[in-house]
């Protein structure tokens, strides 16, 4: 896949690929990620981060925003967010916006 083997860093601008859908499941009252033959149930923080993944915003910007909102140490947030996004990218559920210079 286009999104495979990407390495998530603070300069990445991740987004959900067409085949990964973040959706609120009305029946079960939880957010879910729909992917090929899989349904994942992300926790609240993951949902918040994923909603910021629009292919425009960089991971650094997301981290700034979350650090400010939760008044938490930026470094700790950055570590968690990068790890979480990397995990999703490794599973093919996250891709990276193409560099405009490419």
């Amino acid at each position: 896949m286009a999104g495979r083997n990407i390495s998530v860093s603070e300069t990445s601008r991740p987004k959900l690929p067409r085949h990964t859908k973040l959706k609120f499941d009305e029946t079960r009252q939880v957010w879910v990620i729909l992917a090929p033959e899989r349904v994942l149930a992300p926790d609240e923080i993951a949902v918040e981060v994923l909603q910021l993944c629009d292919g425009v915003r960089s991971v650094a910007e997301m981290v700034d925003r979350l650090a400010e909102k939760y008044a938490a140490p930026r470094e700790a947030i950055a570590t968690d967010v990068v790890a979480m996004l990397q995990d999703l990218a490794d599973k093919g559920f996250l891709t990276e916006a193409r560099e405009s210079t490419a």
Binding site: R18, L34, D43, G92
Partner: protein, 414 residues
């Protein structure tokens, strides 16, 4: 046929998947084990028609004729009802789902009502335009079955000339259209020697996922067991190859592995337990706890054409409740500490091999029939009966000797 969310598969052990696994999280929200939430995903067998004739087809031996299939409007109503119930994903399967002329319309309707669509296909009927139309209609994932890694073995197993070549082409189009691709490889004695090449083929096709699924022996596969049953040495080698590839290809290709339960000591948790997290709908509209369930005679399955809603059928129908939970179990299941781990194994297999779907699955070492069945399978695996009984609407056609001599690769993979 695909394995789905609810199937008995082993995946690469990954601690990260545990907390985010949808089934685990959503199931744990239920207060009582006896409360059955609606499944997250449903398998729709929209037709039993198929140009392939694979001898291990998971469809029942008694196939639904084209004339009995649900109409376009009936399938659309089913899709709307499923979405309303809280089903999140559908698998368009068959038979060959693209044998239906309305497949694009059905996928579009699934998208319109908010369902995530997977296509489980043999690929041989697809054109690039048709695949592109399916993508435009919202199709999110394509799974293509492969019968081998090269035409000699693959076309012989499929019973269709040039099928393999066509599959490779469609796999390429799938990736060009930026849809994720799963390669499904059903494995048995006569193609297991190709497994390393099949894994490489999946990598070369830029697939996301490979399902290495050992044949499960009911229906057509049971009729062909003597020609398909692998040797225990083959199975040990297979497990070694899969484990090595899973480690080597982490992050490139996910490999799901379905073990053959004949050579296991514990039975598989078939369908995640009868009526617990899975149902499928047959071409004629029967709501089934498993795609092989109609092989169990004496069980009446309700149809979407009845006056009952799908939710009612799931919760209240006799067939779903017959083997639900643990209350139906005989010994040795009843007092077994694993009764909620495997739910007694597979009902269809218990029926096929013991004549009673309420018996312990003979795949379990605790079944009184286990030893005898294992020995028989072992004898068959060492035998020389390699001719297939091809799957078709006529009840099967035995492979001609000529055909086999001409096409057959060395089954032991010299």
């Amino acid at each position: 046929m695909s394995d789905t969310l609810a199937d008995n598969k082993t995946t690469t052990p990954d601690p990260n998947t545990a907390p985010s696994d949808g089934l685990a999280v959503l199931e744990s929200r239920r207060s009582a084990a006896e409360t059955y939430g609606i499944p997250l995903a449903v398998l729709l067998e929209v037709t039993h028609r198929c140009p392939l004739q694979c001898p291990y087809c998971s469809n029942p031996v008694e196939l639904d004729r084209g004339s009995t299939e649900l109409s376009t409007e009936e399938w659309k109503k089913v899709l709307s009802e499923l979405a309303e119930l809280g089903v999140l994903q559908v698998h368009f399967s068959g038979g060959e789902p693209t044998a239906r002329k309305d497949i694009v319309e059905l996928v579009q309707h699934a998208t319109d009502v908010g369902l995530y669509s997977n296509l489980i296909t043999s690929a041989v009927l697809l054109t690039k335009d048709k695949l592109s139309a399916l993508a435009d209609a919202g199709l999110s994932h394509v799974q293509i079955s492969f019968q081998g890694n090269e035409p000699n073995v693959a076309d012989r197993v499929a019973g269709l000339k040039d099928a393999h070549k066509k599959k490779l082409e469609v796999a390429k189009w799938t990736r060009e259209l930026d849809m994720p691709l799963t390669v499904n490889a059903v494995m048995h004695r006569q193609n297991l020697h190709q497994l390393p090449d099949i894994i490489q083929m999946a990598v070369d096709l830029d697939a996301d996922r490979l399902e290495v699924a050992n044949v499960q022996y009911y229906g057509w596969a049971l009729k062909n067991r003597a020609a398909l049953m692998p040797t225990i040495e083959q199975i040990e080698e297979t497990s070694r190859i899969v484990e090595e590839a899973q480690a080597r290809l982490k992050g490139t290709l996910a490999i799901d592995y379905v073990v053959p339960d004949y050579y296991a000591l514990r039975p598989k948790k078939c369908m995640g337990g009868w009526g617990r997290q899975f149902f499928n709908i047959s071409p004629a509209g029967k709501v089934l706890p498993c795609h092989a369930a109609e092989s169990i005679t004496g069980l009446e399955f309700e149809s979407v054409r009845s006056n009952h809603s799908i939710a009612w059928i799931w919760q209240n129908s006799e067939a779903f409740n017959r083997y639900r939970g643990t209350g139906w179990m005989p010994e040795p299941c009843k007092s077994c500490e694993f009764r909620e781990v495997d739910y007694g194994g597979c009902r269809c297999q218990a029926f096929a091999l013991t004549g009673d779907a309420g018996n312990t699955d003979p795949a379990c070492a605790l079944s009184p029939r286990h030893e005898e069945i294992f020995k028989q399978a072992e004898r068959e695996s060492a035998g020389t009966q390699n001719r297939f009984l091809y799957r078709n609407f006529a009840g099967g056609t035995l492979e001609s000797n000529d055909h086999q001599d001409k096409l057959q690769d060395n089954p032991n993979g010299a």
